[in-house]
């Protein structure tokens, strides 16, 4: 064994919860992620463990995701969502019984959904966090935290608020997982000098940056991105390897574009007759992705052909084999010129595996199986384990950077979204004011806690990201504006000590993230 591979999956969703409606389109993001990525990954881990395949993987579960996965209302709705999918897949089996190409696929989905329902309801009792915790306690997964509402920390400008985001992220992790996090996934890997000081304050030992965050550090890293660097504050930074990233990420060069893999854009929610799928769409009647897709990519053509699971499975094994082969060669080369064991950090958005790339979870499974089978130059590891073996690393201050397009902050700061920051920063100043109000009644304190929730939700990097991406922009705008407006309304009421009780109760029940939060616990 000559070196290590650390696969890191970043799982994040913005806090979307609309109790004021019976069903809400954007809540689908969570339900799709659970059905297509999180449960399938837990399924993969379960199979690996039962086959005694040794593996180590790192997962970030962001605070907003943890809060949603343990929210009663959302999980009840998820159960309903999955139940409807099962109903639809049963109807599909009937409808396609004459079609030898499609009928086996309907059965495949039916089996899957029923298996996932069994896992969700029976094994995990409606809370899949238990599943991740099981594998964490057994030593296979390392779970890292993230900032409270996934705020783009460098653009908050005021360090106090970077601190509050990280502090709350650490607290949320503790509440849901019962231990303290050793590592953190900074939102978008966005880093600026000073964040290391904050991380150290909360006992965080390491985080991740895109390659240039390390390569452009204050001192050239001797090992490039193949070993972590450590800042003067004692926090370690792991750099992402671009080669392993591109093999999976790149739409052109990466595996997911293979013609035998499942085509994302041929979903029954769009393909089938409206009256037939209507009961499975949202109450507003708009067509949406349901998750049952029958076609493969086929080629650069609109004439998509039916999906053939066996062909896809063969490709997954071939691609996993190729991925492992490349990592083996890479490690062999690096270990020949490094005086310590090299580490390749392969970091991805979790939803790539399963949601965007249907075969993704199986790919991960086969990568682990292959590595275990050949028992060659590469072993899987987590950053925490690597630091135990190499506790001393080159001292350097990382470069301000992010993993976003173009490597810095432009995605979150451009003509589509730069207008939000004035409102965020003024709200931050005002929140600071509220937190120092004295004397203050119990009612005011309760309102100040809620004002803090509204501010945290407004600080979400998801809103400017969506505004930049051009799809679902109206939703992001409405969310951002409503949190700032709610915050401002609360601010005025608190300052005048005229709290509208019905309003407060109303937004407490809607924006109920971090129900345990208390502003007095923040020393700012």
């Amino acid at each position: 064994m000559k070196g290590y591979l650390a696969i890191v999956l970043h799982s994040h969703l913005p806090y979307v919860r609309h109790p004021e409606f019976n069903d809400f389109l954007e809540e689908d993001w969570l339900y799709e992620a659970i059905t297509e990525t999180y449960i399938p990954l837990l399924d993969v881990f379960t199979r690996l463990v039962s086959d005694r395949v040794d593996f180590h993987i790192t997962l970030s579960l962001t605070p907003t995701l943890l809060e949603m996965l343990s929210d009663d209302l959302l999980m009840k709705r998820y159960g309903r969502h999955l139940q409807k999918l099962i109903e639809l897949s049963e109807k599909e089996i009937q409808r396609t019984h004459d079609d030898p190409a499609i009928n086996p696929l309907s059965r495949m989905y039916d089996d899957r959904f029923k298996h996932y329902m069994d896992m969700f309801k029976n094994r995990y009792r409606g809370n899949i966090i238990t599943g991740f915790k099981e594998f964490m306690d057994a030593g296979m997964i390392e779970i890292v935290t993230s900032a409270a509402t996934h705020a783009y920390l460098p653009l908050l400008i005021d360090e106090k608020w970077q601190d509050v985001q990280i502090h709350t992220g650490v607290d949320t992790y503790r509440n849901h997982l019962g231990t303290s996090p050793e590592g953190i996934w900074l939102p978008e890997n966005a880093y600026t000098e000073g964040i290391d000081r904050i991380l150290n304050r909360y006992g965080i030992k390491y985080t991740f940056l895109d390659a240039h965050g390390l390569l452009n550090a204050s001192v050239r890293p001797v090992y490039g991105v193949y070993a972590p660097i450590c800042s003067e504050e004692g926090v370690n930074f792991f750099g992402r390897d671009m080669q392993s990233a591109k093999q999976v990420w790149s739409a052109k060069e990466g595996y997911p574009g293979d013609y035998d893999y499942r085509e994302f854009y041929r979903d029954v929610g769009y393909d089938l007759g409206f009256e037939y799928v209507k009961p499975y769409l949202h109450s507003d009647g708009s067509r949406s992705n349901l998750g049952i897709k029958y076609y493969r990519i086929t080629g650069q053509t609109d004439q998509k052909q039916p999906y053939v699971p066996q062909w896809a499975r063969n490709k997954v094994q071939a691609h996993a084999g190729n991925f492992v082969f490349n990592r083996e060669k890479h490690i062999e080369y690096l270990s020949g010129i490094m005086d310590r064991k090299p580490l390749i950090v392969a970091a991805y958005d979790a939803e790539l595996f399963g949601h965007w790339w249907f075969e993704g979870p199986e790919f991960i499974e086969h990568v682990f199986r292959k590595i275990h089978e050949i028992n060659g130059s590469v072993k899987t590891i987590t950053p925490g384990m690597y630091l135990k073996e190499y506790p001393e690393n080159q001292i350097a201050q990382p470069s301000q950077s992010s993993w976003g397009d173009k490597g810095y902050h432009e995605v979150w700061l451009n003509g589509t979204n730069d207008w939000i920051y004035k409102h965020v920063h003024i709200a931050q100043d005002r929140m600071d004011e509220l937190m120092h109000l004295s004397p203050v009644s119990r009612k005011q304190q309760r309102a100040i806690d809620q004002a803090l929730r509204e501010l945290l939700l407004a600080q979400s990097s998801d809103w400017p990201f969506i505004m930049n991406s051009g799809t679902m922009v109206e939703y992001a705008k409405k969310r951002f504006i409503s949190h700032i407006a709610r915050f401002t309304y609360l601010y005025e009421q608190i300052k005048n000590n005229r709290i509208d009780h019905r309003f407060l109760e109303g937004i407490e029940s809607r924006d109920n993230i971090f129900p345990w939060i208390q502003y007095r616990n923040y020393a700012i």
Binding site: E20, W29, L155, I157, D210, A211, L215, N216, A217, S218, V219, R220, P221, V222, Y223, G224, V225, Y226, M242, A245, K246, W249, S250, A251, P256, L334, I337, M338, W356, W357, S399, Q400, G404, D405, K406, G407, Y408, H409, E410, L413, D418, W419, Y421, K422, H425, I426, I466, S469, E474, K478, R479, I481, S482, I484, A485, R486, T488, Y489, F503, I507
Partner: protein
């Protein structure tokens, strides 16, 4: 509808308002002429309604009717961003190694018609740019060197020629754009002609892995 209310608006706002009311405009009209023309217009009810929206920012939240699918996201006031009064704030934000973004809120109540100027200072307090901001409330500024600090001020030139500062910004730091020269020898010493470092750097130069093409450009 009062001429007094109209006088409080800027020329740009008056021209917009005049256009909305189909008041015939000339490019050379002064503010006074614009106000007169609008007052003379017969659509008084429409003007009052428009004016309510354009009142000087008072820190209060407006209550226009909400519409569309998201209307019921909350009470109607949630459709509108707050207006700020009495706040003076100037903030610099980093965008990438060569660009910073500046935005400001200026309490103009004491300033009247002064022409405001944004001054940008690079490290060692060199005055780098002096920008007449007019009615703008934000600006993207190009800096000549990456990995530097900058700060700024907004002010106006007094009658005696002195620059009177009205707002002061934070200090912003832009990211580095390339590897450090420090540690160059150590990074290269003892290895063959390519090291993990140069290999990474070459791959870094050749491709841009952050170009999140097809797969995630279709992301929500």
């Amino acid at each position: 509808m009062k001429g007094k209310d109209l006088k409080a608006l800027s020329i740009i706002e008056l021209r917009k308002l005049a256009k909305q009311l189909h008041v015939s405009l000339k490019r050379t009209m002064t503010k006074q002429q614009l106000v007169k023309a609008i007052v003379a217009s017969t659509r008084s009810r429409a003007i009052s309604a428009t004016l309510k929206k354009r009142k000087q920012p008072s820190g209060k939240i407006h209550h226009p009717p909400a519409a569309g699918r998201h209307a019921a996201l909350g009470p109607r006031y949630e459709e509108i961003l707050p207006a700020y009064s009495g706040i003076t704030k100037l903030v610099l934000m980093p965008r990438d190694p060569w660009w910073i973004f500046a935005y400001w809120e200026i309490d103009r109540s004491q300033l009247g018609k002064k022409d405001l100027i944004l001054r940008v200072y690079r490290k060692d307090n060199q005055l780098y740019a002096s920008i007449s901001i007019g009615d703008a409330n934000n600006w993207y500024i190009n800096l000549p060197e990456p990995g530097e600090t900058a700060r700024s001020e907004i002010g106006f030139i007094r009658a005696d020629g002195e620059f009177k500062v009205v707002a002061v910004s934070n200090t912003v730091r832009t990211p580095r754009a390339w590897p450090s020269h420090t540690g160059y020898e150590e990074a290269m010493h003892g290895f063959s002609h390519t090291t993990p470092f140069t290999e990474s750097y070459e791959a870094f130069e050749k491709s841009n892995p952050y170009i999140r093409e097809d797969i995630t450009s279709r992301k929500r």
